[in-house]
Subunit: 866 residues, 2 copies
């Protein structure tokens, strides 16, 4: 994450999306299974026919969703298990090295520090070289992708390899990094690759909507097979990646995640790690009396404290990134030596955890997994009254320090791990923050639990029995609460139940998680939203809950009224003007400046293409050549036809079929000029001459004629063409004259791709509903119309402003508090009536003298009257 | 459910929705807290001011969501607990009666049978009289309501009382009925009432979008406090009631459901029923080795069998309802004596469960709760090898029969309870089917478990240890699988974890639930969808998964092309014609018949109102009186102004301000005629004379001028007016002539409510996307446009047809299989280009001779040319 993302990633993503969407039409389709029939000619035909039929049956089954989901689950389980195995081996190796060198503390220290530094540096370098997109968690990017934005290279094989290997090395180093976030990304990549692979067998996997659904299921698989928590995985992935969730995808997620978790745990059984399928971090708390009602305040305290802690973590994480970016000198130095920052951070962290050094006060020798196992332990660590005989057995030993007590160790652990985790997750390697936060939460819970146990050594007294306090239960609650606070999710509760295999603490966990969320959500965005903002990815903030004033703000309060538009009967000069005056990605197409009836929307790139096509050197050369030819007295008829076309096209003569015929000779001559072959192989075999004439250019153009860049490109091209000569005998002055002449022609929209039904809102739509619709449909802009008339536009930006409360910003008007009460009763407002009346009037009297346009105070520059 | 719902409930619901929406504008707003300031005048003013400020602070807090959710949770927990207490008392009473009369079997039988019969009959009668809407589960209705349909009387206090009392009696009878479904309904009613109550303190609770969100949270509370299962409750309610779910509501559901479940369980602790908060049906399976991998096939068998069983249950339930309805004679008899059917069913069921009779073979003396407790028991019931010493202790005794073994008892129990539950849930009392199905599933699981235990008496052998099989675990799996199959949900898995307090069987449960769902979903709709269809509520079927052909069907294949529309410059006669020729609820408003540019949509009721307003006797009388007055030579100028207005309004003279002045005297005279006062008190104080003149009628009219009824109403009114005389000296012939004259006038739409941005689709939108948008936005129709031109319409009906596969039906064209491959590459299709070109042409040459309209083959009756 560090240093990689600049201001324009969001813009870049959108441009890429537009580009990819344009390209989509060109990709060749895979061959259909029916082509296989050709092979049936030969000996042993019946046998082959039978085999073929079987094959075809299988192929038809491959198209089914469940096959895909099962395959995805299987692959991901294998990946997860293999990775866990590799990580465990790495950690084992470090432990072995450290243990083997116990004769010399310096050597021991060298081994302890060098090993993770090398691994992290390798991981950072490897991902940097192979696929920088693999850096970081991946959940923010998946959230963006599921919102419909296409992020380049985020779902490729290269990124997959980089992420898997990078993640294994990063986690193998023993740094406080997590596996969950990257696993969501890995599963998504796996789904994308699998669907591309399976599409070799048939065309089922080419639908975009379906691919999005599969990606949503893949996110669930990612979490599910990482923690062997199918239910929690599905819920967590929903909460983290979606705003609106289709219940039919739920099913897909459950199937894939369950299968994946099953295989993941079965692999452990087959590997003799486990006797049977059980939870990953199995706890053995007593069932009959899990907790006392009077302990609930302590759980609530954990929840509230975790809420503050979670917000602080997100804040700290963001501040570190921003600090690294802002400090120019540090930044320049680190950017030069890209691997220095990861190495430095690893060095500091591993030095501090060195067990014979400071690590002895914070159980530094334990791996993340061991730490969690010890924290969830059934026993009480604190000295309980008289009986001091409790033995720290096995790995529990790490928490004991001869010169201090367990409280000090826990506090040091929490404080140190807190900033270490926040720092470590900014390293540019594939890593998540869930697991480190989970461990810190567990430690905090344990601290509270141990304090409670020390306070009530004999348990809280009930009438019949006394039950001692179980600090392990507090650790579970703390883990769920802190991770819930950082990620702003409630499903961490379900994840802890599945991780520990016990659900007896359900109420404390739920209470703590909900309180933690309430606190954290009111203070900071979630960690993933924070990263989205840092990376400047396109996003839409959530509507906070309880802000009922959001229901009273309306579209008319936040919309941009002064928007540029393209009219149906405009000239190329107008297009040029519009392109210069606005930066909107989509321009509304209206019937005329007077009626303002919205007909559709046209992409900026398309407008640019139209313009550059009109002014293209090819067209100029063609004209020139024709002029020369006509001057020669030869081919006079053809030239006149060509000109007839251009005037016809702009003045709009009746029907196309009549138009198509005279155009053909003109088209056939076009490829003879070398500068004219379509660059991207975008040959259009539809057979319509007119279309191919215009389309070849319009599909190839957008990348070079992106919006404002168009004008510059035009100038450059003039000089290029001058160098090329190619029979171009026009002087620059002549060219300019020709261009001016061309700009005065009427625009022929027939070659442009127009979205015929852009999303429309009404002025009275509430902000709440607008937000809902934007997030439901993944829009990034919507036009505001009033009875067919375009009156404004709302884009993600305005919406974001309005939601984040900066409603006083430019172009945004604050609505008086009681405004909604005033006019919510009258659903036919004055504005509607006026607009309708105008429209209606216009139809009655076509040649009208003058009419007052109520919303038209901002388009005075457009000509009045037809 | 039985017999109550006729064909037209769906239609009725929609009409009601339209009516309520129209009425909404009229309801008086509650007084604002600012009015309270008046009371501060008096002695001890500062003290009062302080108190008032406190009060105002509290009132402002009342507007917060969390206050509402906490209150809702609290109330529902109290209701749930009180109801459980009452039910337990009822059941205790029956047991006591039955136990006390053990000297005489006949008396015992009488008591056993009469008690439930009386209770059920009372419940049926009570709900029938107080609120018939309280009958049945309520989940289907909630699903419909959350889709945006307004069902009358479904969320009122009367229904609430009827449902609570009816449900308590029904469950107290010991019939195999459930509490869950009705509880969803009760919680929703509670939320609606609470929000109405809290709105007395402020206007926060009046937003419709917010109310829908609160209802969604209430559904979660309903399930949550019924089972003390907050997570399962949220998930179950999402799966059962929503198609698309807003993740921000998730949070609300969790908060309310957790609080509710907490209070519900705390009440049990305070009542000394429990020592601390634990699960409702706590199990105590061993944790270290919950099940063996080799047992998984048995769990899968349970899942698959449950799938078939679930589908059979839904089928059986539907067939019973349909049979009762179809059998005219039975039906007529039962309808006459409405309470006979419930009494009869109760009699049969309670006779069969009579413990000394047939009940001894099916543990008839156990209540539903006891049955579940015994089925989840830790011990193995079947005789295990040599050791026959197992003692059936306490209530377990019921399962033992001296002359048969436990397998026979279980089989008989399953078979009898299966049809009993299917039959009992058709009784017209408030009742759900979840719990009975859950119990049957548990029994089936137990049966499989006991068989496994008998087959492997020493457990499945692993290398180190032998672990015996736990049949209770199988019961848990079976319960989740069967209830999941009947309701088509996966979250029953979560519910069983929360009910039993153990999550160790997570994988078997998940596998069984998923398999059961896969089987059941492919055979039958869910129980709730089945009831929705039986009750003919408006619904949209789910897109099956794996049907990838759905991605290839497009809107153009399913849309209705031949639709009626209203043009902006049409005459009243055209409106009349449109009303006669179509039954559409919403008519599209287009610019003109040639351009077909969609401007908005207008409700049928509004069109009717426009027409009847134009032909209203008041207007006629006014004209008449003015004529008379002008004949008197008096007030000549005023009359001419009046006429000038009507011509002005229709011919569209420049500006409104100029128009307002001459109208006022005409308006002021209007109330002087007695037939003229607006009937519903819909006085419009906006001050715009023109508007109030038209609006007063248009808001009052729709109820009587509903669509096709308008024409009849008109004729009736003529005769009424004739009787009223009131200076009406026109003969019927004159009236008709006058009306004909009126019909030839141009329509003035300024008084009609026009939806200025109806939802639009494009011809190329896929069926999949259309379904998504319809269910996301709760639409019931959408217009299909092509560059602003209206080309067709898709309504819920067409969509439903297309999804359910009857694509060969009338008006629906089957798309050739490869069609999508042909044209998915060309996003600028011919049709678009043609349409655009036409529009463009039209603008270039205003007086055009003739143009070929591609989609206009059905509007040849409309005049061509402007």
């Amino acid at each position: 994450m560090y240093g990689r993302y600049t201001q324009d990633l969001g813009t870049f993503a959108k441009d890429e999306a537009a580009r990819l969407r344009l390209q989509e039409g060109d990709t060749p389709r895979p061959r259909r299974p029916s082509e296989l029939l050709e092979y049936t000619q030969g000996r042993c035909a019946p046998c082959r026919v039978c085999a073929l039929q079987c094959q075809r049956f299988l192929i038809s089954k491959v198209g089914e969703d469940w096959v895909f989901l099962i395959l995805l689950g299987l692959v991901m389980a294998l990946v997860s298990w293999a990775m866990d195995f590799a990580i465990a081996t790495c950690l084992q190796a470090q432990k072995w090295m450290y243990g083997g060198l116990d004769t010399n503390v310096l050597l021991q220290y060298m081994a302890w520090v060098t090993y993770p530094t090398v691994l992290i540096t390798f991981s950072a370098g490897f991902t940097q070289i192979l696929a920088p997109q693999a850096v970081g968690s991946g959940i923010p990017e998946m959230k963006t992708i599921l919102r419909g934005v296409v992020l380049k290279e985020y779902l490729t094989l290269k990124t997959f390899v980089a992420k898997v290997i990078g993640l294994t090395c990063a986690l193998g180093s023993g740094m406080p990094l997590g596996k969950e976030g990257p696993f969501v990304h890995i599963a998504s990549m796996c789904a994308a690759l699998l669907s591309r692979f399976l599409s070799l067998f048939g065309g089922f996997y080419e639908n975009e909507a379906r691919n999005i659904e599969m990606l949503a299921a893949a996110c669930a698989v990612g979490v599910g097979c990482c923690f062997a928590a199918p239910i929690g995985g599905v819920l967590f992935s929903i909460e983290v990646t979606s705003t609106f969730f289709a219940v039919r995808n739920y099913w897909r997620g459950f199937l894939a995640a369950t299968f994946s978790a099953f295989i993941f745990r079965v692999l452990a059984v087959w590997n003799k790690d486990e006797e049977t399928i059980t939870a990953l971090f199995k706890t053995r708390f007593r069932l009959d009396f899990p907790f006392d009602l009077q302990e609930l305040p302590a759980f609530a305290v954990i929840g509230i404290a975790s809420g503050f802690g979670g917000a602080l973590f997100v804040y700290l994480n963001r501040k570190i990134v921003q600090f690294m970016r802002r400090q120019k000198t540090i930044n320049r130095f680190l950017m030069k030596k890209r691997l220095l920052f990861p190495a430095l951070v690893t060095l500091i962290i591993s030095t501090l955890t060195f067990p014979p050094g400071f690590g002895q006060f914070m159980a530094g020798q334990l791996t993340q997994k061991d730490t969690l196992v010890t924290l969830f332990d059934n026993q009480t660590w604190a000295k309980q009254g008289l009986s001091d005989e409790f033995e720290y057995l096995g790995i529990l030993e790490a928490w004991r320090h001869p010169r201090s007590n367990v409280f000090v160790t826990l506090v040091v652990f929490i404080l140190m791990k807190f900033w270490m985790s926040a720092l470590a997750t900014t390293i540019p390697v594939p890593c998540g923050a869930f697991m480190p936060v989970f461990v810190i939460g567990a430690a905090f819970g344990r601290l509270v639990g141990e304090s409670m146990a020390a306070w009530f050594p004999d348990g809280i007294h009930t009438e019949s029995n006394t039950y001692r306090i179980v600090p392990g239960g507090y650790a579970v609650v703390g883990a769920a609460a802190l991770s819930g606070a950082v990620t702003h999710t409630v499903s961490t509760a379900v994840i802890v139940f599945e991780l520990t295999g016990q659900i007896s603490h359900i109420l404390p966990v739920m209470i703590a998680v909900i309180l933690a969320n309430a606190v954290a959500q009111s203070l900071q965005p979630s960690l993933y939203d924070s990263i989205i903002r840092i990376k400047k990815l396109p996003y839409l903030p959530e509507l906070g809950w309880g802000h009922h004033e959001k229901y009273n703000v309306r579209v008319e309060d936040i919309m941009v009224r002064d928007i540029r538009y393209v009219t149906l009967n405009c000239r190329y000069r107008d297009l040029q003007q519009v392109l210069h005056s606005t930066k909107m990605k989509n321009l509304p197409l209206v019937e005329s400046a007077e009626s303002m009836i919205l007909l559709g929307s046209i992409e900026r790139a398309q407008v640019g293409a139209l313009l550059s096509n009109q002014l293209s050197p090819q067209r100029r050369l063609l004209t020139l050549r024709q002029k020369v030819l006509s001057e020669d007295g030869h081919r006079l008829s053809d030239s006149s036809i060509r000109f007839q076309i251009s005037t016809e096209a702009s003045s709009g003569s009746p029907a196309r079929p009549a138009l198509r015929k005279p155009l053909k000779p003109a088209l056939k001559r076009v490829p003879s000029s070398p500068a004219d072959s379509p660059p991207a192989g975008a040959a259009d075999h539809t057979g319509i001459a007119l279309k191919s004439l215009f389309c070849a250019n319009s599909t190839a153009e957008p990348t070079e004629a992106q919006g404002t860049a168009y004008h510059k490109a035009k100038r450059v091209r003039i000089s290029i063409v001058e160098e090329m000569v190619l029979g171009d005998k026009m002087t620059p002055a002549e060219i300019l004259e020709w261009e001016e002449q061309q700009l005065d022609q009427l625009v022929d929209f027939s070659s442009a791709k127009i979205d015929p039904a852009p999303f429309q809102l009404v002025e009275h739509t509430s902000l709440h509903k607008t937000h809902t619709i934007f997030s439901l449909l993944g829009l990034d802009h919507a036009f505001v119309t009033s009875i067919g008339r375009l009156v404004g536009m709302v884009s993600l930006k305005e919406l974001r402003k309005a939601i984040e409360g900066s409603v006083t910003a430019k172009g945004v008007k604050v609505r008086p508090p009681l405004a909604s009460f005033r006019d919510s009763t009258a659903s036919t407002s004055d504005a509607d009536t006026t607009a309708l009346r105008q429209l209606w009037d216009r139809h009655q009297h076509h040649p009208m003298p003058r009419e007052a346009s109520p919303g038209g105070d901002d388009d005075d520059d457009t000509p009045k009257g037809q």
